[in-house]
């Protein structure tokens, strides 16, 4: 029988022991005698969240295709087990072998959101790995970070040996191969890090030093080793049709958040919404070949036994072969009682027709993401969606039998006025009115309009990276104002309005655009007991405030300060292909509420053309 890192007493006491025992279908076990590199892949949140992440499944499969490498998984132990592991000095372990993480060659941590940063420290701490990269020895794994938050790695710079900037499919082979070479040749940790700095896309924080002006802004960011390049260029898998894809993903026993086959149909987005980081950092847009996707769908459903398949992309409606793919899925799999999920679809005649085939209209709701209430505001953020689009789409849906509509908005966007905020409620009311225009005998009782707003957080590598945020009190005031406006509407009884926490937004804002000095706040917050900050029940804002106080870091400096386009930003050493000039231009256009056309309508010269493929070359051959 497989050994387990935790004994029966512990496993029978904690919540969901299945989180910690591995053994799932699709998980990979290898003979240690035949393996040269052990890689622990971590998502720093609870198992059910981490297991739902496509990126890790891709890398897990890719690493394990290498004969010399065994990649295993590790997630954040939930609070109950965390406490037991500390009390009983049980080191954090990987799911497959149940061996301590400390014995691995690499610990890779994906950074999907800022609010997981204290969990990163939990992972290191429970593993018995020094929190600071500079204090690690040859007995410690190489700790490498990746994912969207790695595009501003500075708040976490002290805790990581390496960051991988970009898509994992390209540079890991080279990194692992030179790791083996250096280790076998008996080279030091430092020597390996200097070698790694020359692998495309790899950033080694220890080899760079920031300096600051008197006003606290960044003065310079310079390599302190001849091996470290001045800029680190984002890695992109240009031929995504023929890159690696996990046809036998791990299937958890317990229900994960994403309990289905996930088919990534394209990467990148042609839209260019000015608040959206994903829309910039994943440029250029690249599509997967539809015939390959059909094969993948069939193979993955067979291999996993999942009863649901979902399409994954930033904007599915922009996939040029969507109609063919969706029709194939319906024809092929509906008889086999496979549910088909179609997220991020623009609401139009085609999508309504498809949705009426794959879901129960009475139960399902339609989702719109206008992001802003007024047309002016939508032009500022470059959301290419007009009020006409929304009302037409909703109208067609209502006539097709739907009665539930969800709308997503952001508050606190640059240049936002009270009028813009109130328009959120008024737009929802106009959607409701559209419903009640349908003759009474033809409609199905009342409609339900649910509006939600989150607070806008400016992200690196977006045209809004220079934007200021609001204070927590101001966010709450704006939400209250919108709430009040909802009460004034004719159809208020058919509408509901929810808004997100404001305090969490402030922290996200600090760390999204934080520099290296903010790292000590994370460390102090962790020391004070902050963990699982993205979980409302464990989020403790008072502790975070204490952490800022104790470290003398001023949160307002990062959130409320006006940044000029002349300022050197902490992430400027990263080259994402999209140029800073383009972002500045877009920032200025935003201030004038000028819309920029999408990549297919007209090239806006963002710079991603330098990758030599994708949408930039469509129809040009």
């Amino acid at each position: 029988m497989r050994k387990l890192a935790l004994n029966d007493e512990i496993l029978l006491k904690i919540e969901k022991p299945a989180r910690y025992i591995g053994n799932e279908a699709g998980s990979v076990t290898k003979d240690l005698n035949e393996v040269e590199v052990r890689f622990a892949m971590c998502f720093p949140d609870v198992y059910e969240i981490g297991m739902s992440h496509l990126g890790i499944q891709i890398l897990y499969d890719m690493f394990n295709q290498r004969k010399d490498t065994w990649c295993e998984r590790v997630y954040s132990p939930w609070r109950d087990l965390d406490q037991i592991m500390r009390e009983q000095h049980i080191p954090l372990f990987a799911l497959e072998s149940q061996d301590p993480i400390k014995n691995f060659d690499f610990l890779g941590i994906t950074l999907q959101y800022e609010m997981c940063y204290t969990n990163v420290l939990q992972i290191l701490d429970l593993s018995g790995i020094a929190l600071h990269a500079a204090e690690r020895t040859k007995d410690d794994p190489i700790v490498i970070g990746g994912g969207p938050c790695a595009y501003n790695p500075e708040p976490l710079a002290e805790f990581f040996d390496l960051f991988y900037i970009g898509e994992g499919e390209t540079s890991y082979d080279e990194l692992l191969t030179c790791y083996k070479e250096y280790r076998d040749a008996g080279k030091s940790r430092r020597e390996f890090l200097e070698r790694a700095a020359q692998v495309p896309g790899i950033y080694v924080p220890q080899l760079y030093e920031p300096s600051y002006h008197d006003d606290g802004t960044l003065a310079a960011f310079t390599p302190v080793s001849p091996h470290a390049p001045r800029t680190v260029r984002k890695q992109v898998a240009m031929d995504i049709t023929h890159t690696t894809y996990p046809l036998r993903p791990v299937v958890p026993f317990i229900k994960a958040t994403q309990d289905r086959v996930v088919l990534e149909i394209q990467r990148g987005c042609i839209r260019g919404c000015r608040f959206c980081q994903a829309g910039m950092i994943y440029r250029p847009t690249r599509e997967r070949d539809v015939e390959v996707l059909k094969e993948y769908a069939r193979a993955m459903l067979e291999n996993t036994g999942h009863e649901e398949i979902s399409l994954n992309s930033l904007s599915s409606s922009d996939y040029s072969q969507l109609e063919e793919l969706v029709n194939f899925l319906i024809e092929e799999f509906q008889d086999k009682k496979i549910n088909i999920q179609l997220p991020s679809l623009r609401i139009d005649a085609f999508s309504l027709d498809v949705m009426s085939k794959v879901q129960d209209i009475k139960k399902s709701s339609l989702t719109f993401a206008p992001e802003a209430g007024s047309q002016r505001m939508r032009d500022v953020i470059n959301k290419g969606l007009t009020e006409e689009d929304i009302l037409d789409g909703a109208g067609q849906a209502f006539e097709g039998g739907w009665t539930k509509v969800k709308l997503y908005f952001m508050l606190g966007l640059p240049t936002e006025t009270e009028e813009d905020m109130k328009e959120i409620a008024r737009l929802c009311d106009r959607v409701a009115r559209r419903y009640y225009e349908i003759p009474k005998e033809q409609r199905n009782g009342k409609c339900q309009i649910t509006a939600s707003s989150s607070f806008f957080v400016p992200k690196p590598f977006t045209p809004f990276q220079w934007a200021t945020m609001c204070t927590s009190e101001e966010y709450v005031r704006r939400a209250a104002l919108v709430k009040h406006e909802f009460m004034e509407q004719l159809n208020r009884k058919s509408m509901k309005y929810n808004w997100h926490e404001a305090d969490e937004t402030i922290l996200e804002g600090v760390f999204a655009r934080g520099d290296r000095r903010t790292g000590k706040v994370i460390e102090e917050a962790y020391r004070l007991g902050c963990l699982f900050d993205s979980w409302t029940e464990s989020f403790d804002y008072q502790k975070w405030l204490a952490a800022f106080e104790n470290t003398g870091v001023d949160a307002d400096f990062y959130t409320l300060r006006e940044r000029s386009t002349n300022e050197l930003l902490p992430w400027d050493f990263i080259d994402i292909g999209v140029t800073r000039k383009f972002l500045e231009r877009e920032w200025e256009r935003a201030m004038r509420a000028e819309v920029t056309q999408n990549c297919r309508q007209q090239c806006a010269g963002c710079g991603a053309v330098s990758f030599g493929g994708g949408v930039c070359f469509e129809g040009k051959n």
Binding site: M1, D8, L11, P17, I21, N23, F253, I254, E307, K337
Partner: protein
């Protein structure tokens, strides 16, 4: 066509709860391409029911799931295919056709279960435990405090213990199971250790492992039981 599947659950799978085992079975059916029937309606689901949920931490040699097929498949072939896709810790033992009668499904007819209880480190429970067990079993009445979600009550569990005996380092017990009367083995062990304490004046505290051996239907009546394994009520499909 109705089919009864008998399976074992062992190893680390003992930490997978009943609902998750059901989910695993649903995925196994698809992977193995078993022609299972679905319910109708907008959200069709597989026609599948489990005889008796097994608690977390228990292993078993005798678990049962009844399913309905949309077309026949040979037992041997089905077992081969299912075992090829089952997680390590699930083993399909048999796949047999059963009666079409509704009241004959596993969940409705289960009447008794066999368990083996042993010390997790496989030591004897305590000095002289075999004799103590004999005395314990010889009692006319065994009253325990049975707690449910809403209330607690004193219950005589003796009538629900059909057999109770020492087997090497383990205790074998046959207990009432099912929807009418149901006795869990840990309740019996609690009562036994309380009894032992009153006799020997020493606290017995050993980590126990529970293993289910078999599930039975009662083909006789209330006074004269005729227990038959659920498996024996089905026939191999050739």
């Amino acid at each position: 066509m109705k089919v009864r599947i008998k399976f074992k659950k062992y190893g680390v799978l003992r930490f997978i709860g009943h609902l998750d085992v059901m989910r695993h079975f649903q995925k196994m059916m698809r992977r193995a391409e078993i022609p299972i029937a679905f319910t109708g309606g907008y959200s069709p689901h597989m026609i599948m029911s489990f005889a008796s949920p097994l608690g977390i931490g228990l292993t078993s040699d005798g678990e049962y799931a009844d399913i309905e097929l949309s077309e026949p498949i040979q037992s041997e072939e089905a077992i081969r295919r299912l075992n090829a896709v089952a997680a390590d810790g699930i083993e399909i033992v048999s796949f047999r056709q059963i009666s079409e009668e509704k009241k004959m499904t596993g969940m409705a007819i289960v009447a008794a279960a066999d368990y083996l209880v042993y010390d997790r480190e496989n030591h004897p429970f305590f000095e002289g435990w075999e004799d103590c067990l004999t005395q314990f079993a010889a009692q006319k009445e065994i009253c325990v405090l049975k707690q449910t979600k809403r209330s607690e009550a004193n219950v005589d569990i003796r009538p629900m213990i059909y057999r109770l005996e020492a087997r090497e380092n383990a205790i074998y017990m046959q207990l009432a199971a099912g929807s009418v009367k149901n006795l869990k083995p840990d309740l019996v062990m609690d009562a036994f250790f309380t009894f032992a304490k009153s006799r020997t004046n020493q606290e017995v505290c050993v980590p126990l492992a529970y293993h289910r051996l078999e599930l039975y239907a009662n083909m006789g009546n209330e006074t004269e039981r005729n227990l038959m394994t659920l498996e024996s009520l089905g026939e191999t499909i050739d």
